[in-house]
Amino acid sequence: MSEEQTSQSNGIPSKKVLGLFALAMINVAAVLSIRNFPSMAVYGWSCIGWYILGAVMFLIPISLAGAELATGWPQGGGVYAWVKQAFGEKGGFTALFCEWSNNLVWFPTVLSFIASTLAFALTPALANSPFYMFSVMMIAFWGTTAIAYFGEEASTKFGNVGVILGSIIPAILIILLGVWWMGSGQAIVLPPLTLAAMVPTINVTTLPFFATIVLLFAGMEMAGFHALETRNPQKDFPRAMALSAVIIVVCTVLATLAIAMVIPANQLNLASGVMQAIEYFFKAAGVPWLVGPMAVLITLGGVVSLAAWLIGPAKGLGIVAEEGNMPPLFDRTNKYGAPVAVLVIQALIGSVISLLYVFLPSVNQAYWILSAMTVELLCIVYVLVFASVIKLRYSQPNTPRPFKIPGGMIGIWLVGGLGMFGTIFAFIVGLMPPSYFTTSGFVYVGSVLLGTFLLAVPPLVFLKFKKSSWCKPAGGVR
């Protein structure tokens, strides 16, 4: 077998096509989003404080934990492989399934963002047509699924180009315009920078936002799903984590501040859209002709983000099926090594949910509850990941870890504990209904918890009915 190939248990070779840059770009695609900039710019200088909180309570812990786990257990499957080592198949499968099922709720929102941003570049009124919205959403969804069908090499090429064009270049453009704005002596709408201005206000009214900030950098574990296709996981994962974290933080903080310096907070009405804020920004900077091209690039950024979240957990489920924890029906891999059955089932379910999202009227309250469920599901994933990195230091202390969280047991407890505290906090606050909700608090909390339970429980059912015939013998023939 060539050095560039490894054989999966099904006998289909998986090419080792991923290096440091490609791995980093997977994380950047999953996490860096222009959508966040106007939302954070509203907070002025205090966005710096919020970003620091997000970095300390989540970004740094998940990057360090991900690096240690990915280098210690680079078997593929990402969170599944890591949590399985610590808590067995039930834990690993549950963590992975929560990551996959929360995507199903998230897909319609990102698809809707893609369609409405593209409409902004074409004719904004198109966004009012459910038929336009659904058509573009389906083209983006099935198109991304088709790219995933052609395996890691095609996905990587698309991802690398897409993340640079759709996420990094727009962010750099916004930063450069902000620098030009300051340099050309234009009025800066922010008050003078002081230490006090950077400190975020934390009280009962801002708690939900605080919880949101904790998960602002969710997705840093995405590269872990691609371990089987990575040339040198032990060396490349930690460096990719560091590189992606730096790109994400620098682009996010500077671009947010650029927007905050140009657009008055009262003009950043978030209900009226990210592209509207971008349009205001570019018009103020004297380059209104850039709005259309930016809309196209941001659309591409949305598609690349979709691709990163669509492919990673699906690959993980493919591994679970391959290990015999799901029926052979789910374990269909094509000649490119892509888990076609999982991809198709995911695309079908996602399409049905998108259809409901677009065509059912007045889904505002319903969608709020659904997005609360996605937060809870993600929190379950991250609590399990942080618990795993701590437990594995005790249960498998001698497993070689080319990257180890520094500081020994104190370091692991500090990093894992901080991450767990942040995600448990986000889980609890995620159960708080917004003050205007007409549905009673009990019904709200009950709905969120029941929905979260239903979306987390299928692995236990699959494992209950697991049959020995689902496992492939060596050689890959059942």
Binding site: S39, T109, A218, A271, P327, L370, P458
Partner: protein
Amino acid sequence: MSTFSRLEVGLLIFLIIVVVLPFGLILVIAEESPYHQVFGEPVKEAAQATGITITSVKDTTWNLPGAIGGKTYVLTDNAGEVVTVYTQSFDSAQSREAAIRLYNAQPVGRGKPVGSLVVLGQHLVYVTPANSNILKNLAPELIKKISS
């Protein structure tokens, strides 16, 4: 050609049902907000009814297709809490639904969108921050407007 056992097909159906079930359940539980004409200035009237002070009002039109104008209120209560409330009317159910979709499509990271969006007939009412006492006090009055 492979065939699937009953168990496999059953588990596939179970998976689809279990995954789609929460969506159906929540869509049934959550209250509808049909598009209809709500007259007057609901936020101003609700603020007056609950003793909340309006410190400033400005006319605004959101840069969205179908948006036909609204107000930006800055409200304050006796405890000194300050919230900004943006209202906007829409010319059709479709344009209002598109604005709701747009709001829901803009979460921060993988979380929820910033602020709260209340649907009130042809109006959308956007309040930030999401969990304020002022909104808690305004909400029952705004709900009366929906039902009246």
